[in-house]
């Protein structure tokens, strides 16, 4: 799975820590999400997409 979290974060000038605080997770979780090494729950995927003002399938790209 690939994600566009890093790209969208940059668009809204959000740090990893800032995004983590917004969605209520640890910074390490954002790091692993960006690396595509962790598949989030539906709830987390929804919260991240909402924080990045995008749709879920615009943020997470399944191969």
């Amino acid at each position: 799975m690939k994600t566009r979290i890093k790209e969208l974060r940059a668009r809204f000038d959000l740090t990893q820590e800032g995004l983590a605080k917004k969605v209520g997770v640890r910074r390490e979780t954002i790091v692993f999400l960006e690396q595509g090494k962790y598949n989030p729950s539906l709830r987390l995927a929804h919260d991240i997409a909402r924080a990045l003002k995008s749709k879920i399938d615009e943020v997470f790209i399944f191969d």
Binding site: A20, K21, G24, V25, R27, E28, T29, K37, Y38, P40
Partner: protein, 145 residues
């Protein structure tokens, strides 16, 4: 993070830190007393090293969690809980093998420990070490599918 949740998180972290400090102090004190009396610490040497390393690891982990809470981040989330579940399951399976190996070594090599508590210590220390290694590996790899 809400104040109530922050205080609850801090209390849990302080308990973790207290545990780490207790393990570290106990092992250091035991080591110092044993060496002072001129005793031979070699038989329990590995257990000491493992327990000391675990105590330090728990302390460092607790301090990292405290730093996260101060920044307004949660000390644990869905990923960290999942990692602990997967790591614990792996460590449980490996621990069964470890205990079997320990028993086999006693039978095969006629290893007669001076006291039953020595075998128990080796078993528990091995299981704790396996959990720590399993957690470190799972956390690093991120392999929790």
């Amino acid at each position: 993070m809400e104040k109530k949740l922050k205080n609850l998180s801090k209390r849990r972290i302080y308990s973790k830190l207290a545990l780490g400090i207790l393990i570290f102090l106990t092992m250091t004190l035991y080591l110092a007393v044993s060496m002072k009396d001129g005793g031979d610490i070699r038989p329990a040497g590995i257990v000491f090293i493992v327990a000391l390393a675990l105590g330090i690891g728990i302390l460092l982990n607790g301090l990292k969690d405290l730093k996260n809470v101060e920044k307004g981040l949660p000390p644990e989330d869905e990923r960290s809980r999942r990692i602990m579940q997967v790591a614990s399951a792996r460590a449980y399976m490996l621990s069964i093998w470890w205990l079997l190996i320990l028993m086999w070594m006693m039978d095969e090599f006629g290893w007669a420990p001076p006291h039953p508590s020595t075998v128990l210590s080796a078993g528990i220390a091995g299981m704790a070490l396996l959990l720590a290694v399993s957690w470190l590996y799972t956390n690093w790899k991120g392999d929790i599918e």
